[in-house]
Symmetry: C2
Amino acid sequence: MNNYTEILRQHNLKATPQRLEITNALYLNGHMSIERLYEIMLKKFSSISLATIYKNINLMLEASFIQEVKIPDAKSVYELTKEAHAHVICSECGEIVDIELNLDSVVSNAAKLSNYKINKSDLILSGTCKNCQ
Amino acid sequence: MNNYTEILRQHNLKATPQRLEITNALYLNGHMSIERLYEIMLKKFSSISLATIYKNINLMLEASFIQEVKIPDAKSVYELTKEAHAHVICSECGEIVDIELNLDSVVSNAAKLSNYKINKSDLILSGTCKNCQ
DNA sequence: CTCTGTGCAAAGCGTTTGCAAACGA
DNA sequence: TCGTTTGCAAACGCTTTGCACAGAG
C-alpha cells in the first residue's frame, strides 16, 4: 500500500481525503488534465468544487510534489514528480508514455552551443502509438 | 529586403499592413508573447485591436506560417516556422536562444523504447544565460 | 467590385479569489 | 482548539465572436 499521507505531509500538505484522492488518481493514471481529474474526483466526492482541484494542484506544484507537462496542441497534464524522463505522445489518441532517455550528451552539447548553464530539460516527442498506426 | 508579402500569400494569407508588421516583428525578435507583440504593434498601429492580433496569430498557426513554443512556468511565445531546432531558456531574464541539435539517435532510441512512430520533437532546455550567471 | 480583414464591444471560458462552515492535527 | 481546507459564488483575465466599416486583390 502507498502511504501518501506521509508523503503529502513531507511536502507540508495536510492529508485531506481530497488530496489523497488526487494523488491516487495521478498515481493510477500517470498523467491527467484538470478536466479529467475533476471527472474522476466527482465519482468519489460528488460535491467537490473545481476550485478545490485548482487550489490543490497549485499547492502541489509549488511544493514540487507534482509537475505540469505542457503538450503541443493539447491541454496541459499533471503528473507526480519522479526521476527525469521524456514524454512520447500519440497525436491520434492522446496517449502519453514516459521513457527514460539519457540526454547528457545532448545537454552538454546544448550548453556549449548556447553558453548557458543548463539545469533542466523537457523533451516531448509526438507521433503515433502502436494501436493508432 | 524581405518580401513577406509573397510568403504570406503562399500561405493563403492576404498581405495586410498589420500582418506584414507581425511578421516583421517576429523576424526581428525571434520569439514573442502575445502581450509583447501587442505592445510592439501599438507603436505602428496605434488603434490596433488585440482581437486582430489573436485572429492573425491563429490564422498563421493554422497555415503553419508560425509556431507556438510552450515554455515551462512562462507564457507561450510564437516564432516564424523554420528548420527544427531546440530552445534554451534563461529562467532569470527569460531570454530564448535557438540551437541546432541533432536528435536523430535520441529519437530513434525513443521510438524503440515506446513503440511509437515519432514525427516531431520539442526540446526545451532551461538554465541560466551568460549574463545572468 | 467582391470578399476578406480590421477594430470595437460583448460574450465566453478557464482559473482565481473571498468568505463562512467544516475539518485535520 | 487553532490554523488550514473545502465548497460556493463572484470576480478575473485572456481569448473568441459578431458586426459594420475599411481595405486588398
